[in-house]
């Protein structure tokens, strides 16, 4: 839908990460392009989570670099990564059960006035935040039973949709989704997949971690496979090379 940009929005170059004796990332490089879903595949302990945590500011790299729009960045904290335009949705979703969808959307970055006051003392522009949230939910076709109810009352899929929608709003560069369908039933998974396709159509760069091969083949434009901290393959996932993908992941190529 969107024309591919000439440069990747995110580039990881020769990433190295050690935890004591464990060499978690060994010279991993990857690119993420706008308007593209990049699947990050690998068995448990392959280094997917470590890589994502380095990109989202939870860990810092021991070697190599991260480029955003071609510029080298150092991400010391999740907040710094978020400021740089990288939004990550972990499996715990980081939702506030006691708050409404709109309050969740803007929690920690409330629209408030006047600006000369310290942030905590400003007054909330609730009406604006509700309107903006409603617009985003409409655009992404997220259907909720009630938009003014706390998210505690919503189903797993609805909560996932809220978290993904929130990330998409604030991600100026890239949205990282960590197993977004792991806890969901078939129908609800479907809705989240549609939502991810919608994000791509709007020109977002999406990195998707999942174990579900069906979802990868359906949705991903490219797949990067990690094994034991190394990048062992990068290909366009299709029905035809599904077997190849699986062997790359488990390391059983003939």
């Amino acid at each position: 839908m969107s024309t591919p940009a000439p440069a990747p929005v995110l580039s990881v170059r020769h990433a190295q990460k050690r935890f004591g004796a464990v060499h978690a990332l060994k010279d991993v490089s990857l690119d993420a392009w706008p308007g593209e879903v990049l699947a990050l595949l690998g068995d448990n302990g392959a280094g997917k989570s470590t890589l994502v945590k380095c990109i989202s500011g939870v860990h810092t790299l021991d070697g190599g670099e991260i480029l955003l729009d071609g510029r080298r960045v150092t991400l010391h904290s999740p907040a710094a990564a978020r400021r740089a335009g990288i939004e990550t949705v972990y499996q715990d979703l980081a939702l506030f059960d006691n708050l409404t969808p709109a309050q969740n959307f803007y929690c920690g970055r409330e629209i408030a006035f006047p600006h000369w006051l310290p942030r905590g003392f400003r007054l909330l522009r609730s009406r604006t935040m509700e309107r903006e949230t409603a617009a985003v939910l409409d655009r992404l076709r997220v259907v909720l039973p009630r938009r003014d109810a706390p998210v505690a009352l919503m189903s797993g899929g609805q909560r996932q949709a809220i978290a993904v929608a929130r990330a998409s709003v604030f991600a100026r560069k890239i949205v990282i989704l960590d197993e977004p369908t792991a806890a969901l039933g078939v129908r609800e998974s479907r809705k989240v997949l549609d939502l991810i396709a919608q994000l791509r159509a709007e020109g977002n760069a999406v990195i998707l971690i999942t174990h579900n091969m069906e979802h990868v083949i359906e949705l991903a434009d490219r797949a990067v496979v990690l094994r034991q901290g190394r990048k062992v393959g990068e290909l366009r996932p299709e029905r035809a090379n599904q077997q190849e993908l699986v062997s790359l992941i488990v390391g059983a190529e003939a």
Binding site: F96, N98, L153, E188
Partner: protein, 351 residues
């Protein structure tokens, strides 16, 4: 699960599968709504019942009494509410209140100045609140229970140590006795102070970014950190607010009695926690508002006052208040259950 099914059948015996689901969803929603306004409803019923049984309960004089007697619990409970919102607890409020009045009383002995004595009382209470918050947060304590329990002991001991003769000291500046004991147009001034504090806290917690942050920290502390909310600052601020409320409560009590005493505020921490819970706020944090503390405090005041009028002994009153707390906590548990069921119904509806 079997129980759920049987309940559904019971409620909508003749309906088909779709209607059955909708019926159960409706019942759950209705239940949640009832629990939402429950405390206010019960307060209205209790007032009506006591009005019918207890002599003079509804007379303007007695209602004024209730307002004046409830004022201290109400103000301090509102501070307690803010702390409980963030999954905390402040056990030091009663002892802190006593210490604040004693410091005020000592200042009064050297200078008869309303503003200075009020300032001394407020500063003392705020300092204790700030110390609670700072030690809790920066001392990396797992829970505020222990630190506020420690400052309960320290404050009570300090108050007894400092008070002249280790007991009640008579006298307070006129400004304070007017605030605590006077009335304006027949309305006790203390009650007006309660309204003013409630209004201020309402604005802070509902309209200000700070308020949203307290709900966020109470609802999901780790998510709050991830979202870049200054969690430590928010936590410290709640104990400072509790200190401010305790200080205002100290002014009211010293004013009403025209005295200061190291014995004041005994078990006030329990009364205020009870008020918050009875009012319908969640003890698990993140849920509740200033109105809950207010309704709970008035409920306690009304029950005590009415039982007094009916010549029911103090010991029996304690038992009654305790039973009311049990009911309130069970209501909180029931609400969490109903919400879980509402969620299940949502998921079923989406499938």
């Amino acid at each position: 699960m079997a129980q759920v099914t049987s309940e559904r059948r019971e409620r909508v015996p003749a309906a088909g599968p779709v209607d059955r689901k909708a019926g159960s969803g409706g019942a759950v929603t209705l239940g949640l709504r009832l629990l939402g306004i429950g405390p206010l409803l019960i307060l209205a019923l209790v007032v009506a019942a006591f009005g019918a049984i207890a002599p003079n309960f509804l007379s303007p004089g007695n209602l004024g009494n209730i307002a004046a007697q409830t004022a201290v619990i109400a103000v301090v409970a509102m501070g307690q509410q803010v702390v409980i919102l963030t999954r905390g607890i402040d056990l030091s409020v009663g002892a802190n209140l006593a210490l604040a009045t004693v410091i005020g009383g000592l200042v009064y002995r050297s200078i008869d100045s309303g503003p200075l004595v009020i300032l001394a009382i407020l500063l003392t209470a705020v300092a204790v609140g700030a110390a609670n918050g700072l030690v809790y947060v920066y001392g990396r304590l797992p829970h505020p229970f222990i630190i506020t329990l420690a400052s309960l002991s320290i404050c009570r001991g300090l108050a007894l140590e400092l008070a002249v003769g280790h007991t009640t000291m008579r006298g307070m500046p006129e400004a304070i006795t007017t605030i605590g004991g006077g009335s304006t147009l027949g309305i006790p001034n203390a009650f007006l102070v309660v309204l003013a504090v409630a209004a201020a806290l309402l604005v802070m917690s509902k309209a200000m970014v700070w308020g949203r942050w307290t709900y966020a920290v109470g609802g999901a502390p780790t998510a709050a950190l991830e979202m870049g909310i200054p969690v430590k600052g928010v936590l410290v601020s709640t104990y400072v607010i509790s200190g401010v409320c305790t200080g205002i409560g100290a002014v009211l009590l010293a004013g009403r009695t025209a005295a200061s005493s190291p014995l004041y505020g005994n078990l006030l921490e329990l009364d205020t926690i009870a008020a918050v819970i009875i009012g319908g706020a969640s003890f698990l944090g993140g849920r509740g508002h200033i109105g809950h503390a207010l309704v709970g405090a008035i409920m306690i005041g009304v029950i005590r006052n009415a039982l007094n009028l009916m010549n029911v002994g103090v010991f029996l009153q304690m038992i009654v208040i305790g039973l009311v707390i049990v009911v309130a906590v069970e209501a909180d548990v029931l609400r969490n259950r109903l919400e879980a069921r509402a969620r299940a119904i949502q998921a079923a509806g989406a499938q």
